[in-house]
Amino acid sequence: MSPKFIKPLAAGLVFLAGSVLAYASLEFPDWGDGNSPAATHVSPHYIQKSLEETSVPNIVTAVLADYRGFDTMFETTVVFAAGLACLLLLRVFRTKPPATRYFRHLPTGTVVEVRGNGLKRMPRDDFAPIDSDWVPDDLINRTACRIMIPFIQLFGLYVIAHGHHSPGGGFQGGVILGAALILLALSRDLRFTKTRLRESSTGLMSALGVFIYAGVGAFCLLSGFNFLDYGGLAGILMVDPVTARSLGILFVEIGVGLAVMATMVLIYNNVASGGRMEEGL
């Protein structure tokens, strides 16, 4: 079909779909209706019983990790699989060494260009390798990010650990921790980020997160309970089953946070460097 017709055809299709949905929404419950079907079946049970059954005041966390534990486990697996797909699509393991390398003389800020493959690194310590698209040495960015990143990471850990009592949990905290590392990569470069969190560590940690989640579930199975029924942890933690549920939720949230953080960094590193893992922001 000629591309000329695609735009009007698409506009027609979109308006058709939109008007069908708008017509259907006349039958939907009003905004803020407390008696809507979504708010009447399982939702009141979650609100009224979750503190009694799981000892977790944040109902969202309780539903996420306990009532709907299977769903969340496979969501974590989806995140892991997306990171794996990025790695397999982009990662190039054999690259030609670049024809030209650039180094910055740190005390003076002079940039040195080295042609040919002979010199892999400068013989003296006060030279640092820089990217070929010339990232300027920005003292303000570097210092500001160095001050901010530890606090962002601390906040990420708080969001994971305190997800039972305040808004938060593994997904949110994992994204904050991943964002802190991406900020590090933006303020320095990929080479420096790889010295802080190696590429193999990101892969291992995203797999480890899924493993922790499934492992907690399997441990419950071993102690004679259902898969992901955290009451089975009561014996080894020496607490009553209700508190064991709260702690079990914390364990799986740690797994989720680890997987999400590592996957975010993995995806960013691969997309930013085009899979070569040498240069990039």
Partner: protein
């Protein structure tokens, strides 16, 4: 006439999500550039998230975190379901947001691979290159 206006005013959240969804859907079908298609996919996902989150709202209710003392077993404390908004759509969308970030990463990775091979992200140019082979 007044009846229709009051009906629309009571359900304006649905109109907002339909408008967002139409923008995203149009970008996914009609835009020529692959990155613009990916942006359209993100807008579409946002529309679905908005729809779910707005269905969780109850007039006069607070966030779904119970006020509590220490420990558990506050049997005497009465929890009314009408005081807290529906937590279930929040749970579903919380995971959906993270998964949408992950799918965005995969989509961008595919776009980078396509750019490596064809040196363009314009759909018609890619199709022409594929026809020539």
């Amino acid at each position: 006439m007044g009846e229709i206006v009051s009906q629309i005013a009571a359900k304006y959240n649905y109109l907002a999500y339909i408008a967002l969804m139409m923008i995203g859907f149009y970008a996914m079908i009609a835009k020529n550039n692959l990155v613009k298609k990916i942006i359209g996919m993100s807008i579409f996902q946002t529309a679905v998230i908005l729809y779910y989150i707005s269905s969780a709202y109850k007039t006069g209710a607070g966030i779904p975190i119970l006020s509590h003392g220490t420990g558990h077993g506050h049997g005497e404390q009465v929890i009314r379901a009408a005081d807290y908004i529906n937590p279930l759509p929040h749970v579903l969308m919380l995971t959906a947001i993270v998964v949408s970030v992950a799918t965005l990463g995969v989509a961008l990775a595919l776009a980078i691979r396509i750019y490596d091979r064809h040196k363009t992200l314009e759909e018609d140019e890619i199709l022409e290159q594929l026809k020539e082979k």
